[in-house]
Subunit: 321 residues, 2 copies
Amino acid sequence: MKKIVVIGGGTGNFTVLKGLKNYDVDLSAIVSMADDGGSTGILRDELGVLPPGDVRQCLVALSDSSRLMRSLMNYRFENGGLGGHSFGNLLLSALEKVTGSFEKAVEEAGKILNIKGKVIPVTTHQVRLKMILADRTLLEGEKDIYLSQDIDQGYKSIFLEPYPKANPYAINEIYNADLLVLGPGGLHTSLIPNLLVDGVVDALRSSQAKKTFVVNLMNRKGQTTSFKVSDYLKEVHRFIGEDIFDYILVNDQKPPQALIEVYAEEGDLVENDLTDDSRIILAPLLGELKGVPATDFIKRNLIRHDPKKLAQELMKIVHHL
Amino acid sequence: MKKIVVIGGGTGNFTVLKGLKNYDVDLSAIVSMADDGGSTGILRDELGVLPPGDVRQCLVALSDSSRLMRSLMNYRFENGGLGGHSFGNLLLSALEKVTGSFEKAVEEAGKILNIKGKVIPVTTHQVRLKMILADRTLLEGEKDIYLSQDIDQGYKSIFLEPYPKANPYAINEIYNADLLVLGPGGLHTSLIPNLLVDGVVDALRSSQAKKTFVVNLMNRKGQTTSFKVSDYLKEVHRFIGEDIFDYILVNDQKPPQALIEVYAEEGDLVENDLTDDSRIILAPLLGELKGVPATDFIKRNLIRHDPKKLAQELMKIVHHL
């Protein structure tokens, strides 16, 4: 059975894992530990736990349990002191307290959710993602970086503080993978934070696995404004130090014009400027549009990867290994 | 297989169920829905859910899952907006929100915890336990009643508001039981609230089951001060309307004098004044004393029933059925 290791955090990871779960492969998700917004941020601050949010999404993606259990994990309390917390985050935080270890908590939650595969925090140290902008403004925390509109003006540095050692299990997975998948996901907030962990880049460079980069569908205004496929690769390679990818998976399906206009305030479509690069795999990867009201929250998710289509393309790569 | 139905709420139920779980019997717990203190009270107020606390204790008592899962259910968050909430309460409340039904929530939590037997809320209506004292003071809520020091001065009435219909599943269990067990537990706060639900008393009177009353070890000062066994029975029979019990299980093991003194502020030992009543079963029922520091919280639990000894005596009754 081929081993696929997916690296990222948040919704991007969720989509890839959800699609691949239905194939006969050995799946692992390596998850960024930089999240500090919303429910996760409150839990970190108040309880001193490691960030559960991205891990929760991966667990749900890999879960083979009932639809009810998956809804439960994503259920958010609405009122009072619990308001905003997702139940799955509370489960992971309570398990961390009871077992004394975040890794053990993830493992136990995986059993409760009957997951197919493994979810592995990239580091088990408490870290903050920080960024120094071109004008020397210091952004402290993933949330502030996520909300900044000035990153496309350039930045001096991005780093985790304190500089953390990688989780040895994550390194092991990278070495033992047949296929590594980086992305899709927030470039500075979900993907790069994995590369900032001591040991990850070395492992990515040395691993004999084939490596696929899944390019985002949309740019985020103020963050990756007008980025093309080559810009994504350039940015990632700044951290990896060399071009490691064997495949670059790019969507070639155009969303309806009306939807692009809805999105205009938030960002533009990522254009493929590497038409001559033989590593580029073009495929229609868009999720189906459901008739949902375009609230601010949902808008962000209207143009998104389809888990099935994404998995089909990745499995074509696997079959060639 | 004999069917045993235990009626109560809180720690008393926990002890009986925990002991009986190890025998080959068909176990059900009917649980009072009057709790409104602590974590449970906050969840009722803020989320509008039914009270999870007593149900959680019964689920944990019947759980056949790992020690870790049971610790998780009883884990209390310590800080921030979550402070004081036990994880199991949050599980039940989130499940109630996701499924839209408290009964369904209890059922699903039972699956997650791999319980042996059934836990059944006595009613699925939102109710408050209220009491009018002799001096016409109105106590609103189980918590206020639990904390009152004036109940032993007599009270005019105790009632649930609004007056709720029983859960038909609870009634069914009472009719189909081979043995019914009432107690131990807080007389006005855990036992009687079950009897105040429309349909329960009729079922108790009509059921062909043998009926056992398990008498508390200790009185609670201000509540059942200096109550003897006959006082407990008299009080319960006021609500049932007739004497229904076939067996009355009473502890005859004396706790160490030092411990009785530690307890003196909170209450005195329950004395058996029914030495001629052939229904009385005397047995040593005390739990072992562990070398724990006598904090206020633990003090309450130092003189307590031993689940094993309690179950052994109840099983002797079952073997005679």
